[in-house]
Amino acid sequence: MSRGPETVVEQPVSGYAASARRPGGRGLSAVLPGLPQLLGGRWGTGAMALLTWLGMGLILAARSDRVLAATAGGWDQRVALATLLLALLASWIWSWREVAEADRLKTVGVSQWDLAVRAFSKNRTAVAGMIVIVGLYLVALLTPFIAPHDPNTQYDLLTNRLVGMSAEHPLGTDQFARDVLSRLLYGARISLSIGFVAVGISVTIGTLLGAIAGFFGGFIDGAIMRFVDMVISFPRLILLITIIAIFEPSIFLIITVLGLTLWPSTARIVRGEVLSLREREFVQAAEALGYPKKRIILRHLIPNALAPVIVAATLGIGNTIVLEAGLSFLGLGVQPPTPSWGTMVAAGRNNLLGAWWLSTFPGLAIVFTVLSFNLVGDGLRDALDPRLRS
């Protein structure tokens, strides 16, 4: 694809043009991705790209030994390596392309999604939450390069046990003389994956079933929705406890069970959306044009019903992380020694008066992560709802 010259655009519509106008934007972005965008006033995305770039560079420089070793390491080290390279590449390519192709990008229409992104990027708290979340996922994926210690190594039980914060152990050690910071970092992978995968499962199931119920109506709708009612009326926690008590708790079971009990609310949302969308004339137009039902559901209904689902999913990830912590409190969380934030908080709670750092740091990690997800969710809600956008 040809790249247009850097021209002065007559009427700046968005930051694309603004960053393009800045002389030397392309050169700048080649060195420090995100900086042109940052200077162009898009501080959120700009900062994200810049921080990613700098952070990855820092890891490469400071932990080169581990990075090199990762090529021959286990799968999680390889994942970390891939993340590192992808993040570097992605932030650079994104920033450079955007500056270089500002003109071309401007002639393309602005989709609803683009509008939502713009509206979202104006919401400072939401963008801050987004940065935290992206940062968290990066940190989680890159943990093998970042963590100061092995999360499961027990140092000397007599001298290193339950030691408070120190240079060696920035967040102290736990009852087995393990490094709390390292466990916190590894715990991030578990907690975040639990949230992400469980919500992924539930959103997929919920969206499909909700769309089917809403589109076909009648008996199918009745059957699906009665089942939804049943699952929804039941206190979810008790269902979870029962199921987890039956099987031996493993991380996969927890993820599956969380995912399989969360979908009804998504199904309800999607069904409601689909029911109202069906009355919309563009869906009738699709029917009038003789489109097959599958196409109408997948191309016309679901994309338009997705906005509230995305919001619900974002909020759902946060809720799931909290719920996992609750299960850990009841001893049904992720199995040791695998650290998850929930198990760390639960395990450290009896020591709140003695070794406060045991449950406080993972607790705060949960709070700030979930808070970020909620802020992003709220931001998305505002950004995705055209009525609130104006």
Binding site: T107, V108, G109, V110, S111, Q112, W113, L115, R280, E281, F282, Q284, A285, A286, E287, A288, L289, G290, Y291, P292, R295, R299, H300, P303, N304, P386
Partner: protein, 343 residues
Amino acid sequence: MLESGVVSAKPHIDRSGPPLLSVRGLKKHFPIRKGTFGRVVGQVKAVDGVDFDLWPGETLGLVGESGCGKSTTGRAVLRLLEPTDGSVHFDGDDVRALDKEGLRKLRRRAQFVFQDPFGSLNPRMSVGAMLEEALKVHGLGGPNRRDRAVELLERVGLRSEHVDRYPHEFSGGQRQRLGIARALSVEPDFLVLDEPVSALDVSVQAQVVNLLEDLQRELGLTYLFIAHDLALVEHVSDRVSVMYLGRIVETAFSHDLYRDPRHPYTHALLSAVPRPDPAGREDRERVVLTGDVPSPSDPPPGCPFHPRCPNPRKDGRCSTVYPGAETAGDGHSAACHYPYFKV
């Protein structure tokens, strides 16, 4: 854009041949459901026995107040809503008997243009994607569908660079052009136009109406034009049907209908239309109907209009016997026991 203001003569319409669309006794009732088990406790008789014919190349206007069933008629004809009763024949085929494939074929030949320029376009699809989709589904447009999409855009008076834009980036009038382009993409013979301009400003209305007239002339299209604006309908239609409470109360050539309304409802309706002519406002005869339109779930017996009818000759027959629509020799029919005639 054609803004010449040239009067273009419409080609002659041959009404001796078979009609393109023939509707007889069309009914569409919506069940009223209640309770958890969805018991049907009544019927909204949105369309309650409608007959009309439509010959190739002509425009039939369907007017009436909100809730009279005109939109439902339009949708039921194309089976966007499944009719409850009656028959619809399109080009000789029984529309109600069509199978899935037959329906798909029908939808290539008969298309729909919607009222709401904001709701009738998928907000998440670019214009190009929208037009290409229709072509793709019906296997039209050959290898280069995008070129065909651009062609369609230009045909309805938009520019080729609009092809990558999204619906919300267009004004109301432009969106209505997009809706027309989408309907035209499958190269239909017949369009149901459901209040295509009523959401638009007056000046833009005229643009769209002109476009529709140009298209009809050039492509030989047949229109069912649904609207509540009587003046507009008169302007675009060859013949006009007036609906009230799910039934057609009067049908006539448009010139006749406006000069010589025979049904008391049509008469009242016409007199209620405000005229942009202050000069004659004091001495114009005006019939102001009393009361509201009855509920279509419980229409009055006999002539549905009788409770509001100002006709001085109204009598007991009106409240018991439904007056059939007799077509007079001039093609003018009115469903009234005591129609008005110009003296």
